[in-house]
């Protein structure tokens, strides 16, 4: 038994210590930010804070949460996630269901019609010009419409549907149910875990999206939170500030930045436990499909 050998037991102990250290390293930056956000501005500026708040205060959160620009952006982000999530889920299911049928005439070609877009795309500039020509520049639609179809999610859903026993569909069809009824009364109820997985993927992805807001919306009052955060946290170092300097100075203190970072990351941290229950299964089922 190798478990009993002395060498292995030494290795095992060291391995545990090593893995714990690595795990802590993965959340160290978040803990640090959390500690800074609850510390006094002077302690943070003097780099006295590492993993525990110094001179505990809630001041940075009070300021961030009383900033109307921040709250507006928060609301826009919620609207964006809600719209892309609901429209995206509907289209994903409606598209994946027919494509999952092996006996659909031309189904293979239709599936490739979608998959090709994963292999080749027009890139940034033609996409930008399309938004311009569609006349949805500077509207929230520019952030919503292009994101409704996500071929990766469709393929994932398609593979989930294919794992459902065919007998279920056949039984429903023999009972005289149409395809629509079969989809909504037979397939969807048994696919709830996969639907939850994809819904969480969409929500996280849309919450984190920032670049489209930056290039499509010149009106900063309809920026989603990620775009606003990008401008507050990153862009001050550059010269393309879209926010007036007074607001910027007010928001740029280290502790306030930390509270903004933490609030921006909070929704992800909240859904993460639910996410974790599903994604491992989803990833392994879809193998490395991307």
């Amino acid at each position: 038994m190798y478990h009993k050998s002395k060498g292995y037991r030494v290795f095992y102990g060291l391995n545990i210590v090593f893995l714990i250290l690595i795990s802590l390293m993965c959340i160290f930056p978040l803990i640090h930010v959390l500690a800074v956000s609850f510390s006094s501005a002077s302690a943070a500026a003097a780099n006295l804070v590492t993993l525990w708040p110094v001179d505990f205060t809630l001041k940075s959160y009070e300021e961030t949460l009383s900033n109307s620009k921040f709250l507006d952006a928060l609301l826009i982000s919620v609207v964006r996630v809600a719209l892309v999530l609901s429209l995206g889920m509907i289209v994903t299911v409606l598209t994946a269901y027919p494509l999952s049928k092996f006996n659909l005439k031309g189904g293979k070609w239709l599936a490739w019609f979608f998959v090709v877009t994963m292999l080749f795309n027009g890139g940034l500039i033609p996409g930008y010009i399309l938004i311009l020509e569609l006349g949805i520049m500077n509207t929230l639609w520019a952030l919503i419409l292009p994101n409704i179809v996500n071929v990766y999610n469709i393929i994932l859903m398609l593979n989930f549907f294919r794992n459902i026993p065919r007998e279920l569909e056949e039984a429903a069809l023999i009972d005289g149910a149409g395809q629509l009824v079969t989809l909504f009364r037979v397939y969807l109820p048994v696919s709830l875990p996969s639907i939850a997985t994809i819904a969480l993927f969409i929500a996280v992805q849309q919450w984190n999206s920032w670049f489209d807001g930056l290039i499509y919306l010149s009106d900063t009052s309809i920026w989603p939170l990620s775009t606003l955060l990008q401008n507050l946290l990153i862009a001050p170092d550059l010269t393309n500030n879209a926010i007036d300097s007074e607001t910027l100075a007010q928001m740029s203190e280290k502790t306030i930045r930390a509270s903004q970072i933490f609030i921006g990351a909070l929704p992800i941290l909240i859904v993460y436990p639910f996410l974790q229950r599903f994604f491992v299964k989803g990833i392994v089922l879809g193998a490395v499909k991307e």
Binding site: N15, T50, P98, L110, P126, L132, N208, F211, Q230, I268
Partner: protein, 295 residues
Amino acid sequence: MNKGHSVLYFMLIPGIVLVLIFNYLPMGGLVLAFQNYKPWLGIFGSDWVGMEHFRALFSREDSLQVIWNTFVIAGMKIIVGLVVPVLFAILLNEIRQMGLKRAVQTLVYLPHFMSWVILGGILLDLLSSRGLFNDVILPMFGIGPIPFLTDGDWFRFVVIASDTWKEFGFSTIVFLASLAGINPALYEAAEVDGATRFKQTLHITLPSMVPIIVVVGTLSLGSILNAGFDQIFNLYNALVYDKGDIIDTYVYRVGILSSQFSFASAVGLFKSVIGFILIVIAYRLAYKFANYRIF
């Protein structure tokens, strides 16, 4: 023809319409790489210039540098991003306390879901000249300030290290799954023969992982031109353009910020075509050697 199949085609209409507009139309829009596109003239009114922008792409010093940077950064990310998760999965697989194993997994998967805006904001704070690293942590070891974000070579190191930090945990998932699939009888037989755990790892575990390593490695070749726009854009600055600027950030600055739409489209088209060829080759190889298919 099966009864009720027409409704199946109707279901596909919303998806097809959206893909046509938002994915296929921009592909057609790539013709502006061969034009001198002016927004006020439109695609149909702008002059045709043939391959001029591509000649510029391969003769301009900055664009050649950017292509090279992209290869170097993406290549390093692929190699490190393959080795680290494999080793980590093997080490994690040794753990027999399931609670500890789950806790480690929970923590190492987390950074994958954070956006580069959040992580970039944190890293810029930590690594700046007055940040926690240069002001507190490095002095403890007697190391002077390191120009993490202002020196090109250090910047590349930061990019590859932070990308590994963010993604290695998530990448272990497939490897852990393959480890769970190894036949225990193999280990039992080795045990009887008196093989140490290290020998077992070398002669059973690693060879069993070869197929999945080949699949992951081949498929990641398709992203040799994706050096990570979100990450670089949120970490870089003009001081590190020489070593840190990549195709995607270059296209953004040249195309959107300086409105050279046609030249930027040409750069983008070059990237898309190379990427397409590599992905197709990668999928064919993965299919041939490991019977991997998308659907």
